[in-house]
């Protein structure tokens, strides 16, 4: 049973860290995609959406190639003494990459729905672009940011394909719930696997339920 608990805690930890990591970058990207009409926009949007469309194992393999010691980034990391592959950091990385587009989309929509005149008003009243973002855009996009965060977190809890490619399934270090379910099933520990499935269902249910409630209450407050 304590094995199950440690797997659950590990999964929650990496999902939370991954979500926190992508929050600032995701909000920044969403803001720029929402406001600017630049020629590179379609390219950036496409690149950011790739993890949604590619098979997770493909994404995992790409990350693996980039990070292995003979690869471009891996070499730099090795020189700096930083180890990522097959550690919990790799789980965070795989999870972050796969969840990133799920965060950006709702946040971008929320930013796009803000009346641009409100932004202009903020500028005219004396706030520079960064201040207007912080004081007007962020508060008004609150609902979308929350939805995107919970969506990304829920996805992070279940990440499998990319994770197994760059982090393996090392119990206690990189074995998340999804990986543990797979592992247990294929060595015949069906009961143990089902226990974990049960826990996963409960958490997923709670995550989506919370999202629904929080976003609905928000809608009542800011409508009309």
């Amino acid at each position: 049973m304590s094995d199950d608990l440690s797997i659950l805690l590990l999964t929650l930890r990496v999902a939370a860290i991954a979500t926190l990591l992508i929050l600032p970058l995701g909000i920044f990207a969403a803001w720029h995609l929402a406001r600017r009409r630049s020629p590179g926009r379609t390219l950036i949007e496409t690149l950011l959406s790739l993890p949604l469309v590619l098979p997770p194992t493909a994404v995992g393999l790409l990350l693996l190639e980039a990070l292995r010691k003979s690869g471009p980034i891996g070499r730099l990391l090795d020189q700096a003494g930083v180890e990522i592959l097959f550690t919990w950091k790799a789980v965070v990385l795989a999870t972050a990459v796969m969840s990133f587009p799920l965060l950006v989309r709702p946040v971008r929509t929320a930013f796009e729905e803000i009346d641009p005149r409100l932004i202009a008003m903020g500028r005219s009243l004396g706030s520079g672009p960064v201040a207007v973002f912080r004081r007007v855009a962020l508060p008004l996009a609150w609902r979308g940011i929350l939805a995107g965060t919970l969506l990304a977190f829920s996805r992070a809890l279940g990440e499998f394909g990319a994770t197994i490619m760059i982090a393996g399934s090392i119990p206690g270090r990189t074995q998340t719930m999804a990986l543990a379910i797979f592992q247990r099933t294929h060595i015949g520990q069906d009961e143990g696997a089902m226990r974990l499935v049960g826990v996963t269902v409960v958490i997923a249910f709670a995550a989506v339920w919370t999202t629904e409630i929080l976003t609905r209450r928000r809608a009542q407050r800011t409508s009309a």
Binding site: R13, L20, L67, F86, S169, R173, H186, I187, G188, D190
Partner: protein, 250 residues
């Protein structure tokens, strides 16, 4: 809003702390068939030396691939020498550190309540499906293929083969009733809950396990110590108890 972000970061820091690697421990990648024996030996070693031993079991081929990609394993215990050769060639283990004292034998298993008559290799070709650890890469499957090829039966059996990720998956397939028979190690059959040995392979290939500390290990002394423990009298006794065969250590 700021408060929300603030509390999130505190939470994150808290979680991150829990994930740092503080205790002295070594990571051992072991072939799937070594699951129970290595786990027990790991506990014994920890009791003796205080070093915690953490395991990752799986197909030797998969584990070797991970080590080649940079996985931070301290010790690698492979079910055949070919996987270890690959690592040695890549400079990831030193020839002088390798210990090849462990061996095993193959058996054919069926479900415990099975009524099938499978008593010789020739009967395998009559079954609809046979589970083997992937004969393209996993040692257990490679040994099985070598055996059947030596009897001239591989071509007949191959179309029935369902390749699994490792030898324990092949066993699990039989235990669940999904597949009628599998070729696994004798030691795997010993821990099976709902599978029995249908017959033992008597003319199979030579099975040689290989264990070595990984050259890039961050705890080379602890790794070497554990390998020595495994190859020593206590280790050998445990393996014998489980049904493994000792070759005569290096």
């Amino acid at each position: 809003m700021r408060k929300f972000l603030g509390s999130l970061s505190l939470l994150a820091a808290f979680f991150a702390l829990g994930l740092a690697d503080p205790k002295p421990e070594i990571l051992v990648f072991g072939a799937a068939s070594l699951n129970e024996s290595l786990t027990d030996l790991g506990k014994a070693h920890e009791a003796k030396t205080g070093t915690k031993v953490v395991f990752s079991f799986g197909a030797s081929s998969d584990l070797a691939r991970q080590i080649q990609a940079g996985a931070p394993a301290d010790v690698f215990f492979s079910a055949d020498t070919a996987r270890m050769d690959v690592l040695e060639k890549a400079g990831l283990v030193r020839a002088g550190d390798r210990r090849e004292f462990l061996s095993n034998s193959l058996v054919v298993v069926v479900a415990a309540d099975s009524t099938l008559k499978v008593t010789a290799a020739g009967d395998l070709a009559n079954l609809p499906k046979i589970a083997l650890a992937d004969p393209a890469s996993v040692p257990a499957g490679i040994y099985a293929k070598k055996w059947l090829t030596g009897l001239g039966l591989w071509d007949k059996v191959e179309p029935k083969v369902v390749p699994t990720l490792d030898v324990r998956a092949a066993l699990a397939a039989v235990e669940s009733g999904a597949i009628p028979a599998a070729v696994v190690y004798r030691t795997d059959a010993a821990v099976a809950k709902s599978a029995r040995i249908s017959f033992a392979v008597t003319n199979g290939p030579e099975i040689v396990y290989s264990v070595a500390p990984v050259a890039a290990s961050k705890s080379p002394k602890a790794a070497e110590a554990f390998v020595a423990f495994l190859a020593g009298p206590d280790g050998q006794a445990e393996f014998k108890r489980r049904g493994f065969v000792i070759r005569g250590s290096k």
